[in-house]
Every structure is written in structure tokens, then in C-alpha cells.
Symmetry: C2
Subunit: 242 residues, 2 copies
Amino acid sequence: MKKPAPIALPEVRKYNSQDKVLVAVDCIIFGFDPNKEELQLLLIRRDFQPEKGKWSLMGGFLKADETAEAAARRVLRKLTGLQNVYMEQLDVFSKIDRDPAARTISVAYFALISTDEHDKELIKKYSASWVDLSKRPALIFDHDQMVNKAISRLRYKASIKPIGFELLPEKFTMRQLQKLHEEIFDEKLDKRNFSKKMYSYGFLERLKEKDKGSSRKGSYLYRFNKDNYQEKNGNWIDYRNR
Amino acid sequence: MKKPAPIALPEVRKYNSQDKVLVAVDCIIFGFDPNKEELQLLLIRRDFQPEKGKWSLMGGFLKADETAEAAARRVLRKLTGLQNVYMEQLDVFSKIDRDPAARTISVAYFALISTDEHDKELIKKYSASWVDLSKRPALIFDHDQMVNKAISRLRYKASIKPIGFELLPEKFTMRQLQKLHEEIFDEKLDKRNFSKKMYSYGFLERLKEKDKGSSRKGSYLYRFNKDNYQEKNGNWIDYRNR
DNA sequence: TCAAAAGTGTTCACCGTACACCCATGG
DNA sequence: CCATGGGTGTACGGTGAACACTTTTGA
């Protein structure tokens, strides 16, 4: 199918004389616990040197036969067991000494998962745990930078796409949805304006059921209707064409 | 200063067993010729295999002792002679066979320069040339994808930051500024509304001089006032915190 | 019956958009 | 004097923000 690349000697030498480097992927994994009403981050305790025992993002090395995205998905799956996760490339981090053990550049990905869905066994195996975003410990290398960047990106994305649904269980209440947005943007929102806006997008499906967990009266459960979203997504403008 | 990384044998073997890959940087270089009133792209004709003679973005390989951004700036400088250029990381492209000669991942950067500033000699040396964005030839590898992504990003950026000034000469007319925006967003704008909006941001400085090149009456020249921009940039919202 | 959370409508200010005429000048 | 592009103001509608009271029900 593909014609073999023509190999001319001087050019081959050119390629060969270039430096090769290790390429890592690191995953910034966000979650949201509707009960705790806090944004959370899935972190691991590193079980190898350097910086063994310190808190870190989950990461791994890019293999020669996979794309960066595939590597990130592999890493994420190893830790959570989840496959079809919202994931997006953030940026490359390439400071020379970012990993003191070896020259490594890292491609950071951010992922959104609903905390009730992942595999608890795997998390235990990797000594990982969910920590409140606001109380997160210092991380190794440049991982704090990665997290900060991921937060910005999350805000941006949430402002132009209904991305927050990735972080909620299938059925959720309007309050939970609002709390999530309040956490993401770090500001209080007016519940009347908030629900009005959400209704206007047209992709919320109100169920018959009510959730009685948080009040006497009970609150309606909603579901995100993807079909409606596809039809009406003219409401959401994304300049970045993702 | 920095304490040496603790080296434990098994972990070193771990790092060593990982694949290393070639890392390239590619620059999507946008320009705008206020006379032609067209967005342009700076392309080169590749002078080595594979795909020798085809149109391509300017690129190069990442060296072991430089960051990706430094590499991109080095590459850009080699071609244009320019140093303080607006530049931003786009994304990593890592399809396995994107470069048929060797497994290479590429970090794409997009850059904005004012076409009157660059070094014509260097451009000649690299058989580069400015092409109209709308009439650009097909590019090698995945460079077309890179360009498309860069266009989206340019639109996004221009919608939240006064990025377009990077593409204009120091002094410019309101018409030129408008044309630039029209090119970026690919739509006609109303000149009254446009200038009103630009004034409202408060960072345009109207000069005494007029440009008599395009009309009898002559049109005022403006300058971008960075100080004013710093003060008033609350007008521009950037969720991505750059 | 009351405490606690849920649900719901209206008003107002501001911003983006549509739209048309006079001005200055060189030829 | 006239053709050409330059420069400016107003009116309207839609959207986002502020704001308070009633409902439900378990204890």
C-alpha cells in the first residue's frame, strides 16, 4: 500500500545523527464525588526511584509502536480499568531536568471520569487515591504545573461544552450539576439562573424519579441526552474545533 | 544546588528498557500582508529525503539539551532571523507512520509574525516562501492537519486576546486591522461596529499621522499600546491562563 | 407544625448587531 | 467637482445577572 520511503544515504545519516529522547505520558485525572461535592484528583504514590513514595500523577512511557494518545489511554486503563473516557491532550512538558533520572519529555493528558465507575482494586494495587483538588499534596517534578494547566483547560472546556457530564454519574440532580460547575469555576452560582441556562441547552432529560437523599422534598434526577446534544449543539461554540 | 537523583539499580533498568524516539518540532508560521490583505503561511520546500522537493512546514529535531519551545524558536529563527515572536504550543502529533523514514513524534508550534520584518535572505536560502493561506499547496506527512489545527487555534486566540497585532506592522490602519480579523474569521464585519469595539478595549493609540496609500482622504494610523493593554486586559477573558 | 432543601418568573442593564450619511482630498 | 474610501451614532433585541417567595415532606 504505502510506497517505501526512498533512502538516500546522506539524509539517512542526517536522521541518525539526531538525539532520541524518552517520551512519557502523564494523566491528570479529574473526578467529582457528588456527595462530598468536591472536585478530586486521582494520584499515585510512586513506587520506584527517583522520588519513590512521593505523590505523583499516573504516567508511563510511550512505546515505539503506539501513539501518545494510545499510551495515555493504556496508562489510564491500567489504573482505573476504564476505557471510554473523555481525554484530551494538554501540552508537552520538556524542561531539560524535569525528571532528574533521565532526559524525558512528557505529554500530559487530562481525563474526566465519574468517581463511582472506576475499579477500586486497581487503585489499591497502585497505591493510588482520590484527593480533594483543593487539598492536594505537592507533586513530583513538574506535575503541579500540569495540574494547574489542566484546571485552566477544564474551565475553558466547561465553559464551551457540556463537559461536566463526564464527571457525574448517569443520573444526577440539578444541585449536583450546579455544585460541579461551582467547583470548576470556583464561584457561587444562582440556582434559578443556572437551571434556566441548563434547560435552555435542551439536552437535559428530567426523569420521573426523585432523589430523596438530600432533602425531605426530594429532587428530580436528570440524565444527559446525547442525541439531543448532537442536534442542538449549535448552542455551544467551540473555536478549537475538537 | 540540585541534589543528585538517587539511583537504585532495578529502577535504572526500568528507565533503560524504555523506547526512545525522535522528537521533531514543526512551526506553523502565519503572516499577514496588509497590502495583499491575505493571511499567509510560510512554507519551505524540503531539501532532503523523504519527500524531498515537496512543500512542508519548517521543522527540526529536538536536541537532548533544549526544551521543545527552545527548539521551535531555534527553528523559527533559522528561517526568519526573528527572535521575539509570538509562539504557542499546539499539540503533539504522534501517529506511528507519520514520517515514513523513522518513528518520529512532532510537537507543533504556531507562530505569528509580521511579514515585513523577517529576513528575506534566509527565506531564500531555505527555498521558503509565503503562500496565501487559502491557496496553500498540499503538505507532506500530517502537516495539513497541523495547519488546520493552527487555524482553529488562531481563531480561538483572536477571539479572546488581541493577538492579531502580532501579525501587523507597528503602525496600521483601522481597515488593515479589520481586514485581518475578517481573514482570520472568514467573514465580513461591519466597520462601524468593528472600530467601536476596538476603541472600547482601550489599547489602540491613534497617531497624528495618516496613511495616504489607500485613499484621498487618508486614514489614521494606530499603534497597539501594550501598557494600556496590561491595565485593561480585564476586558479579555482567557480561560486558558496563558 | 416546622425546618430544610427544592423549585420557579420577572425586571433591568448591557452588549452585539443592524443600518446610512457626511467628510476630506487628489485628480 | 466628483469619485473614492474614511469616519462616525442610534435604535433594537437578546442574553446574562440580580433578586424572593412558595412547595413539599419527614421528623
